[in-house]
Symmetry: C2
Subunit: 477 residues, 2 copies
């Protein structure tokens, strides 16, 4: 028994968040049981606790898209080579990332989807005939392959990951523009309401837009190491894909028209952003709405085991609407259990011992800030509701303060580099040219534009040409 306990005690996080963020993050994911590395280079296993979070995200978002009349479907993993060649920019954009099937027979080469625009739009060209078929709004949940990733960062970067991709077709540019923003707003809301994750929201620069898009919008969060993380994108694809894939419709007057298209997606990366933002040196911290286990009851038996256990079971019954567990194992100390559930990110712990019972009360301990509160058992449902909500809001506010306090305006290159070296986000007036952006990235050792805040003024901080945009720059994942 002692052997096993020692082994499990050793499961705590061995480095501090401040000290070695990548190692700390990897340990949090592994030791809290969210994920593991796969045997093929660059791959990961999503363990039940991690997948539970993904299911919560799916449930939330499925109800959102249903409201907007988007339907789920499933398209093949396999894409013929020629499809990549139909839309020139798209083809170039994904060239390095595509994995191919080893051919057993003659015929065209087959790729594994790095994204599904081409394979979906091939079907769309068969399905869309008339304005009556529009708008067409389809989403799919699937696995995606980007082979160039050989060094897996759990949830953040891997050869295979899970995502959703929505692909809509509209009669007009106006509808398309409107819904590109609609889904981006829904992404922001999902991050805030479900994951307690504050994000910046806006358009990408020309250089950073999706391969084949007219423009790309994005939500971006700021990780505790000062790197930005793209959490979701929504693209207006214009009419380029429609042209390349022969999608057209007859409008009300019987004229043949090219439709407008959008695509939008987020991935299991959202789990990584959430974990990295909220967790601490003791392990995982999760917003209550996505926690696989929301509350754990830990009885402290003293010499009144039966009495304490009975009361613990009463409390368990009162709170059964939550994901809750009573841990009455006797071969582990309460202290050992505290550590275990802190490591695995259970948002709320309920302690009760003989003295608490005498007072008809229990002690509630928050995972996020360790605050303890003694509450009367008769009030427990109300108190738990309030505390869980407060945990969510505190996590969000804390992350939002961090984000806001790390955005710094910079007038010139010197100020810019100071901000970047401080691991912060620089807000600068920028000319908008892709070549200038290339120079910025190279000269700064990797800081790229994240998104456009608004129209710019004055001169570009880098090249001195007239500034078109006020843009956030940062290093990123």
């Amino acid at each position: 028994m002692k052997e096993a306990r020692k082994e499990e005690q050793a499961k705590g996080i061995s480095v501090k968040k401040e000290q070695d963020m990548p190692e700390w993050y990897s340990q949090v994911c592994l030791k809290s049981g969210l994920a593991d590395y796969g045997p093929v280079k660059g791959t990961m296993v999503i363990r039940p606790r991690g997948y539970y979070i993904w299911q919560k995200i799916q449930d939330y978002f499925n109800s959102v898209i249903k409201k907007h009349r988007v339907e789920n479907a499933y398209f093949p993993l396999f894409i013929p080579k020629s499809f990549f060649e139909k839309e020139a920019q798209h083809a170039t954009g994904f060239k390095a990332e595509v994995a191919w099937i080893e051919q057993k027979e003659d015929g065209e080469k087959v790729a594994l989807r790095p994204t599904s625009e081409t394979i979906m739009y091939d079907s769309y060209s068969k399905w869309i005939r008339s304005y009556r078929d529009l708008p067409l709004r389809i989403n799919q949940w699937c696995n995606i392959v980007r082979w160039e990733v050989s060094d897996c960062k759990l949830f953040l970067r891997s050869r295979e990951f899970l995502w959703q991709e929505g692909h809509c077709v509209y009669e007009t540019e106006k509808e398309c523009d409107k819904e590109v923003l609609l889904f981006l707003d829904e992404y922001e809301k999902l991050c805030k309401e479900l994951l307690a994750l504050p994000v910046l929201k806006g358009k990408k620069t020309e250089k950073e837009k999706f391969a084949g898009a007219k423009y790309t919008t994005t939500i971006e969060s700021l990780m505790p190491d000062g790197k930005a993380l793209q959490c979701g994108t929504s693209h207006n694809l214009g009419q380029g894909f429609a042209k390349s894939f022969n999608i057209s419709f007859l409008d009300k007057s019987g004229d043949k028209k090219l439709p407008w298209q959008s695509s939008w997606g987020f991935s299991t990366r959202l789990i990584g952003a959430t974990v990295m933002t909220h967790s601490d040196d003791r392990g995982l911290v999760l917003p209550p709405k996505i926690a696989p286990l929301q509350i754990v009851i830990i009885p402290i038996f003293g010499d009144e085991k039966e009495k304490v256990e009975k009361k613990a079971k009463e409390i368990l019954a009162k709170l059964k609407k939550y994901e809750i567990k009573l841990d009455n194992r006797e071969d582990y100390t309460p202290g050992f259990k505290f550590n275990e559930y802190e490591l695995s990110g259970v948002p709320l712990r309920i302690e009760l011992g003989p003295r608490d019972i005498k007072n008809d009360s229990v002690v509630l301990v928050r995972r996020d800030n360790s605050e303890k509160k003694s509450v009367k058992i008769k009030d427990i449902e109300k108190e738990v509701d309030k505390i869980l909500e407060d945990i969510h809001n505190s996590l969000y506010e804390k992350a939002k303060n961090y984000l806001n306090s790390n955005i710094k305006k910079a007038k010139d290159w010197k100020e810019f580099m100071k901000v970047i070296e401080n691991r912060q986000i620089a807000l600068v007036n920028f000319c908008g040219d892709s070549s200038c952006e290339d120079n910025i990235k190279y000269d700064s050792g990797g800081a790229g534009s994240r998104l456009i805040k608004e129209d710019g003024s004055g001169k570009c901080f880098k090249c001195g040409k007239p500034a078109k945009q006020l843009v956030y720059f940062a290093k990123s994942y």
Copy 2:
């Protein structure tokens, strides 16, 4: 307008079910909008109506497995070549079906999962240490690749398909046996309660068991063309994989032991079985519980459009707990609409015109048997509940009668061949030898064993050796 209408009218099924089953089936799937063929040979697209059914199956089954403490997870699509070589029978069984990634770098070859035993058990060997980690019950919903399929039969056979695979690990053989049957029973129940699909249930013969299993259990349905269709399997894997993948645990006395393992799965093939069983010459017929649209209201305006439309909306509001739609398009006749919703398998149609309204009634028309019933509007909720339940039960009973009346005992080869040529299931006393089974399959032009009903008696109908089992034989998908 007329052009479009003609095109859509032409969408009806052009062959009879009796006349050319494969063509009929393919047209039902295509024209009701369930699925489409993909551009790469052997692949399919699951359209929103088809995927809706899959989601209903997922929702149902997720609540079943949660009850049995199974957790969902996600393992990589990519499996190293060496994994296939660890369990010899398993390797041989899947050799022909595996697709490989074209290598860009040196190193081990990588396959796309044809099933996930090996990749999951590699992780299990890291996660399982002690009896405290058992039972371990994990399920995943994912895509599966079996490359040898080059001729896609929608939902029934394709290079890529979707499935669930449960993989459990137990301390003892007894627990393992028990749960192999538990999940098989749940499969049978899912087929009956959700899909109105009757199945035969039991063990596979030695020849037909899963590659690497101790034994395999199965549920099998009988398609209207007399071919059996395997709808789900549940395997006791014994300790072979545990040995090959180094999975062991310390029991309560601290001794190192090999655990027992099970795996169980069903796929999107269930959708095909459901569609083929219930549908008819007018198109798709679906059990109400999985129908994307359960009820359609079709107003017959006469010269009282406003009045009829108002009443139709009242009825829509009364029945909003269902997936229901009011089709008040004016440029299509009611007759056109009837055909359209019959083709797409809407279980119940509500017709109402001026005369019905005068009588405070509507006409309910069942998709499955075309029965019409006039009911008072005040009773409509109760009546609709009853009719939808009755549609489910009628579909099940009809299919069950078909299954039962097509099982024929056969004493000898001559009788056996008569049954098989009649496109029925033969029930025969069989020796159980794989070589004898090979002969039966060859000599009969493809009839194979489906499952063992019970212990046999007398002599094997084929080779004359003592019969060990009473076995169902049939041609199959």
